[in-house]
Point group: C2
Chain length 275, copies 2
């Protein structure tokens, strides 16, 4: 086997989201390397597990597994030890340690994380909320929202709303356009749940030019004009000050990072949202 071709097998009794995310985080450290990520998901039978392990072995793949059945975990760990395969069992040491500390038995339900419990339905509701109240569609959503995001065009309002919805939070957002009407509901809610998003004018200029190009239009329209952008940002800044809300500059920040800042600055309790 070609030494330069690294392959990672994710083996999971559920959708394999956690292990895939971990593998992706490692792969992202090697941007010029071609690394294969193979997912073997919903593995709940011994036969399926053995087949996955044998396939992984035949390509000398690295293995990351998350399974809850002790029988399957033991089979995987033993197989990897016998055949000297790289193996990371990321879930069972944590489950075992909790058991030891609490003297409570785990329920050993595969994919219990995604079980159709109350928390799960809350998340679905939050997602539907984000879609319904995206882009200022209905300002009545502000009254019911946990978080209201404000910002000029291209300050990541929609992806931020969806990302936070995944943590069970109800998020509404409103695009800011100078001279446009500001819905009265914005003044009726607690400023502590409002976040004003801003961006660097030159970043906005570049992003908007690229967007125009993607549409096959002239990149130098009023939309991407730097004076216009400064005017928009000033309008937003003035509004944020009047509202007394927190302000976050999204330039060079990922959605994950901005979301973390929002939860921290709004002092949203760590335990009230879904991990």
């Amino acid at each position: 086997m070609n030494e330069e071709c690294v392959s990672i097998f994710v083996i999971s009794d559920s959708a394999g989201e956690t292990a895939s995310k971990l593998a992706s985080a490692a792969i992202a450290q090697y941007q010029d390397l071609n690394i294969c990520l193979v997912r073997k998901t919903f593995i709940n039978e011994k036969e399926d597990l053995m087949e996955a392990l044998e396939t992984a072995r035949s390509s000398n793949s690295m293995i990351i597994h998350t399974m809850i059945s002790t029988e399957l975990v033991n089979i995987a760990n033993q197989y990897c030890e016998e055949h000297q395969l790289f193996c990371m069992d990321i879930l069972s040491p944590i489950v075992g340690e909790i058991e030891q500390r609490s003297h409570v038995k785990p329920n050993r339900m595969p994919g219990a994380l995604h079980f159709l419990d109350k928390n799960y339905f809350k998340r679905i509701e939050a997602m539907e909320f984000a879609v319904t109240y995206d882009d200022g569609k209905d300002p009545n959503g502000f009254l019911e929202a946990d978080i209201v995001l404000l910002g000029v065009s291209r300050t990541s309002k929609t992806p931020l709303s969806l990302f936070l919805a995944n943590k069970n939070l109800k998020v509404a957002n409103l695009p800011l356009i100078p001279q446009a009407h500001i819905p009265k509901q914005l003044w009726e809610i607690d400023a502590k749940k409002i976040v004003g998003l801003t961006n660097d004018p030159h970043v906005l200029n570049r992003i908007r030019q690229e967007r125009m190009k993607a549409y096959g239009l002239n990149p130098d329209t009023a939309y991407s004009n730097i004076d216009k952008i400064n005017e928009e940002l000033k309008f937003a800044q003035d509004l944020y000050q009047k509202l007394g809300c927190i302000v976050i500059n999204v330039a060079d920040r990922s959605i994950e990072e901005t979301s973390s800042m929002i939860l921290h600055l709004l002092e949203i309790d760590e335990h009230s949202y879904y991990g």
Copy 2:
């Protein structure tokens, strides 16, 4: 310290999403236990790391960390060994193994996963696409979509669309209502990118009754009537057959599980989407 109160510290140089997800998967195995999950995120300085470690030690917390700096990783691992704290270093063994196999140095960029690369913008675009083309808002979206989801009310179309958008896939969805007009664009696209969602009539009946109750309405409306539901499902089934699309029953399936099935059944290449 009370033995029954288990606490887990997630320490990350980024948003801590991967480690939090792993901790949540373990916590989900203990539904009746009160487990604290504390996130120490964007830890990039020695001083901040030491402070997080000392806080974790003072409450004898379990530690899961994901950091890319070898210096910080070594500090954390040594500290935990010295003070006999439970510690899982989930990222660096994988990064180290890839380095050993490929002879390529990792770029050691914290949160490289979320770096503002092409992939990242593709994901944001996919999220905006899902919101724009949710609920049959504009059937022209079908032409551009990677996946088109069809289904009667309460078959998880919106959360599924958003979940798949997170994997960089452009998803449009259309609610099916008997006698309503079916947009002509649906017949113009490849049936191989269409997924017909269905559900068990009794599950739909229960979900819809609960929804009516949540709205403060009589639960026994036409919306939740079992004959009406059967009629809707029959209409959907007939359409799926005419289209020749795959059909998935979402009853008792989580969004994650249904998404996995969709990717598998539509034969969407493992490598073409974001982990």
